[in-house]
Symmetry: C2
Subunit: 80 residues, 2 copies
Amino acid sequence: MAKAHVIVRLKTEVLDPQGDAVRRALERLGFEGVKGVRIGKLIEVELDDAHAADLKPRLEKMADAMLANPVTEDFEVVID
Amino acid sequence: MAKAHVIVRLKTEVLDPQGDAVRRALERLGFEGVKGVRIGKLIEVELDDAHAADLKPRLEKMADAMLANPVTEDFEVVID
């Protein structure tokens, strides 16, 4: 079994209201000094061995086609 | 500015319907051999320099208190 993961982050110029809500909640809980929180996704993918070749370009195609929204998000493929 | 991130994953024994939906969608798009997809969160935190000491235990407390649900999720703190 081949494993890889795709990290999907909001582009830096895109506002992250979910991250801001978490930052404020951390403040309310007494955690000081938190300047910013950004929330992204970690998508872990398992492929069978017959499809383990060219894992990186294969995963990049998946991310491009579906896992990330190219308008608002950047992605990074990591082979485990 | 100190940076760290928290990776939050569903515990392995917890079903991931969102991941399953992504797996099926990848199949429908023609991506073969995808055996499993699990979706987690990547929470990137920036702290000011006055709070940069003991970053790992500080982030672990945040994750424990709020960023992860200890019943269904595991987390991992990584200092950037």
